[in-house]
């Protein structure tokens, strides 16, 4: 690592405690946290949601919510205690000496101003740059984060840039004044894995070039293990373990760290490895014998979905007699065909915009395809328009578990009412006692304690909400269940439990799954077969192991390589090897 003398830390957090006042009383968000950070070092603060990692970062930057206050401890940055410093001193430090990259780059950038002028703001505030040099400096800053054609990008608005490009601009903003400390708060959440890799490589390279001290705040152990030299593992406000990355991975001491490492899927882990408390999986129900040559459960043939059909000439233009230009429709799903057998799990993998969600929504009959057939046990469901599909008996055969458990539950319905809805509508179950019995049975199946049934979604944890969503989807005993990134909004330890639950339910109920996800590591845990999609087309199909070990398509290979692995040896200085590259 770095040979510079490590005697004086640039940032020293000692015994930090932060309290929040809430309706339920005082909440201790951070309890007695201590760590030191030296120049040229990247430290990872790892923890699940609610562990206090973001609060710590906000505290260092002095942008804590007014309801929170530092109860104890100190944050000494270059000799100045930030917990007692006044606002004037803090605003001098923010942006110039210490800066931050935020979770969602699109939200963090001002949407109605050009990115170049946003960089100029920081320069004007914190440096003595002459007005005539501002633009040049801003373009240099964009160039430094390897944005191609920075002169043109200077004029771009955030909406014109992709998520990855926005995050580059954020990094340019953060580094414009040459700070000595950079805090990256979940910098790659919501980005595709391949973009995540390029962004993290960029942060690492820039940090090394400028000898920055970096704090990476993340929930992803794999990511932290690849980029950080030291880790602090946090749980409910406390640092449960701290040490070098190797120490923590090779020899974790705290049971929570062990659990976290275990729950993170690796390239070779099996579903049973993820969590300790997995009981014996019920033996798979033997599937009823089907006659030879019977149609498969689902066969999708030449599915096409086009958007934006129409002319680009406005009605005013047409009124004036301008030539009507036909816009070429955008093909979100381009000639997709696949088969799902009875009791089979098929993974649908790809990055955002590849058409996997459109495909799954079309199969779920929430969207009408432009052309193609959706044969469900031989019957073409594409013939029934999705507008009236809620009323046909086939509705109950295909159900779905949604991506975000919070967003997919009606905030005004209790858990009981959420699960009751499909039973009442599709099964016509009206008898309250009968309904209650069935809902309790379902709650038992998904492992949701019965006393939680009267709660509203905001009173449930992420994992409990996910269970409610699953109970709702299986309540009418569908034959095909579509899982749309069911664990992407969950912490890893909860993800492990939910994945195991899904596997149990499949064994018990004999459903078929279509598992839509961007994460090959997770998909292969549950699926027999994997379909890789890119730009609306299927580019590769095969068994999960085949694709992971021997991908034929270059796109699949880049997808697999970009997924951060919990590879301890990889953490070992390999990160200093590659040359920075220019990526458009």
């Amino acid at each position: 690592m770095n040979d510079a003398p490590k005697t004086v830390p640039i940032l020293s957090v000692q015994g930090l405690s932060v309290d929040f006042r809430t309706r339920a009383g005082t909440v201790h968000a951070v309890k007695d946290l201590s760590f030191d950070l030296f120049r040229g070092e990247m430290i990872g603060v790892v923890g699940e949601s609610g562990s206090g990692k973001s609060v710590t970062a906000f505290n260092i930057m002095g942008i804590l919510d007014p309801a929170g206050r530092v109860a104890k401890g100190s944050i000494v940055f270059e000799g100045l205690d930030l917990t007692t410093a006044d606002e004037g001193a803090l605003s001098e430090i923010r942006g110039r000496e210490a800066s931050m990259i935020f979770q969602n780059p699109r939200v963090a950038l001002n949407p109605i101003r050009q990115v170049g002028t946003q960089i100029e703001d920081v320069l004007r505030r914190h440096t003595n740059t002459l007005t005539k040099d501002l633009k040049k400096k801003a373009i240099e800053a964009l160039d430094a984060v390897r944005i191609r054609h920075p002169e043109q990008r200077y004029y771009a608005y955030p909406y014109e840039l992709s998520g990855g490009m926005c995050q580059r601009v954020m990094i340019a903003l953060a580094l414009a004044c040459n700070p000595s400390l950079l805090i990256a708060d979940e910098p790659t959440t919501g980005l595709d894995v391949t973009t995540q890799k390029t962004i993290m490589d960029l942060v690492r390279d820039l940090a090394r070039e400028r000898n920055l001290a970096t704090i990476l705040i993340t929930h992803d152990l794999g990511l932290a293990s690849q980029y950080c030299q030291r880790l602090v593992v946090m749980r409910s406000g406390e640092a449960v373990e701290a040490g070098t990355t190797e120490e923590i991975f090779l020899n974790p001491k705290h049971p929570y760290t062990i659990k976290l490492i275990k729950a993170t899927p690796r390239i070779d882990s099996r579903l049973e490895d993820l969590s300790d408390d997995v009981v014996e999986r019920p033996a798979a129900q033997p599937l009823p014998v089907r006659p030879e040559g019977a149609p498969p459960l689902l066969e999708v043939r030449n599915l096409v979905k086009e958007y934006g059909i129409g002319s680009s000439t406005s009605w005013f233009g047409r009124l004036l007699g301008r030539k009507v230009e036909e816009k070429k429709p955008f093909r979100a799903v381009d000639d997709v065909s696949f088969i799902v057998g009875h009791g089979e799990s098929v993974g649908l993998v790809g990055e955002s915009g590849c058409g996997k969600s459109t495909t799954s929504n079309t199969v779920t009959r929430l969207l009408d395809p432009t052309s193609g057939e959706i044969l469900f046990e031989g019957q073409d469901l594409a013939k029934i328009p999705c507008k009236g599909f809620a009323g046909v008996p086939e509705r109950r055969l295909i159900q779905m578990v949604f991506q975000d458990p919070t967003e997919s539950l009606n905030p005004r319905f209790t858990a009981w009412r959420c699960i009751a809805d499909p039973l009442m509508r599709l099964d016509g179950m009206r008898n309250k006692a009968e309904l209650d019995a069935r809902i309790r049975e379902l709650a038992g199946m998904v492992g949701l304690p019965e006393h939680l049934l009267t709660r509203f979604p905001h009173q449930l944890s992420g994992g409990q909400k996910a269970r409610v969503g699953i109970a709702r989807a299986i309540s009418v005993s569908p034959k095909l269940l579509i899982l749309d990134e069911p664990t992407s909004a969950l912490d890893v330890s909860v993800q492990a439990i939910v994945l195991n639950l899904l596997a149990d339910l499949q064994a018990r109920l004999g459903m078929s799954y279509i598992f839509v996800s961007h994460d090959l590591n997770v998909v292969r845990l549950l699926c027999d077969r994997v379909i890789v999609m890119n730009a609306g087309r299927i580019i590769e199909t095969g068994t999960a192991d085949e694709i992971l070990t021997n991908p034929r398509d270059p796109y699949t290979r880049s997808l697999i390589e970009a997924v951060p692995h919990l590879d301890v040896l990889a953490a070992n200085d390999k990160t200093f090897a590659e040359e920075p590259k220019c990526i458009a």
């Binding site: 309706r23 339920a24 779920t364 929430l366 507008k387 809620a390 009323g391 509705r395 109950r396 295909i398 159900q399 779905m400 949604f402 991506q403 975000d404 967003e407 997919s408 539950l409 009606n410 905030p411 005004r412 809805d421 499909p422 509508r425 599709l426 509203f456 905001h458 009173q459 969503g469 709702r472 989807a473």
Partner: protein, 282 residues
């Protein structure tokens, strides 16, 4: 159990925010006066006497008017009429505006365009002048004041409902409800619309204030409730001529009652929203 929980929540909301407590108590007072007013006042509000234009005294708390009627009794009795006009008008525009706005926000297309242009047309007029025109054209009755007030408030409900329904149209829980076999209308009524209620509640409470002012304003300029009916607007109008000659109490007390009512409704909004939003309960 559910009632108990509601009361607990009500207590929390009232004690957490003193403004809500003040406006809540005022609201209860207004409702009590509206219901019991005629039976608790000391004098008959229509009975004239020889004691004309008396200043406030222990006999006549708010003094007497030019016909010797007790101003205090008239102010109290007027509460029922003013509050009724406001509540009925607001309810009408709330119901119609919610239906039109929700349909526009959910279905889009031509419904959205028609509802949107209609509300734009109403908004294009100075609202009070529009209400005057309607009452003048349709006749000087209480019903027509209600209709006029309802019409000019309609666009606010339609717009709020449209915007709030529109952002929830493709939400995860709506998709899930579609999978559960809900038809569009049922989905809109049972799943989406209840989530729109909290912002609508704020709108309602603001509108109640406007509606009272509007009804009083119409009466003030002589369109609307006619004398000798006790009504705050007419009383202010009648009293205004006497202010110059020093009889200030004729206009001041009904004016103050009007102000208190508007004040109360404007402050009630946040409390109502918190009351109806399950997320505020912990």
């Amino acid at each position: 159990m559910a009632v108990n929980e509601f009361l607990k929540h009500l207590k929390y909301i009232l004690t957490e925010n003193p403004v809500t407590l003040v406006s809540g108590s005022l609201f209860v007072l207004l409702i009590v006066l509206a219901i019991l007013g005629p039976s608790i006042v000391p004098y008959d509000p229509y009975a004239s006497s020889a004691a004309t234009l008396q200043p406030p005294s222990w006999q006549h708390w708010f003094g007497t008017d030019q016909l010797g009627r007790d101003v205090f009794s008239r102010v109290i009795v007027a509460t029922r009429l003013d509050i009724t006009i406001a509540i009925v008008a607001v309810l009408l525009s709330f119901v119609i505006g919610s239906i039109a706005g929700s349909a526009a926000g959910y279905y889009g297309g031509w419904i959205d365009r028609v509802v949107g242009r209609l509300t734009d047309t109403i908004m294009a007029f100075p609202l009070f002048v529009l209400a005057m025109g309607i009452v003048a054209a349709m006749g000087n009755t209480v019903e027509n004041i209600v209709y006029a007030t309802a019409l000019i408030n309609l666009p606010f409900y339609a717009r709020v409902a449209r915007a709030e329904v529109n952002v929830r149209r493709e939400a995860g829980f709506v998709q899930a409800a579609r999978l559960a076999g809900n038809s569009d209308v049922r989905l809109l009524a049972t799943q989406i619309y209840p989530n729109v209620l909290p912002p609508m509640m704020v709108q309602i409470s603001l509108n109640m204030g406007w509606a009272i002012l509007n009804a009083a304003g119409l009466s003030f300029i002589g369109l609307g409730v006619r004398p000798p009916t006790p009504e705050w607007g007419i009383m202010v109008a009648e009293g205004a001529t006497y202010i110059v000659s020093g009889e200030w109490w004729l206009a001041l007390f009904p004016g103050a009652a009007l102000m208190l009512a508007v004040f109360c409704f404007n402050l009630l909004g946040d409390g109502l929203r918190d009351l109806i939003d399950p997320r505020q309960r912990t």
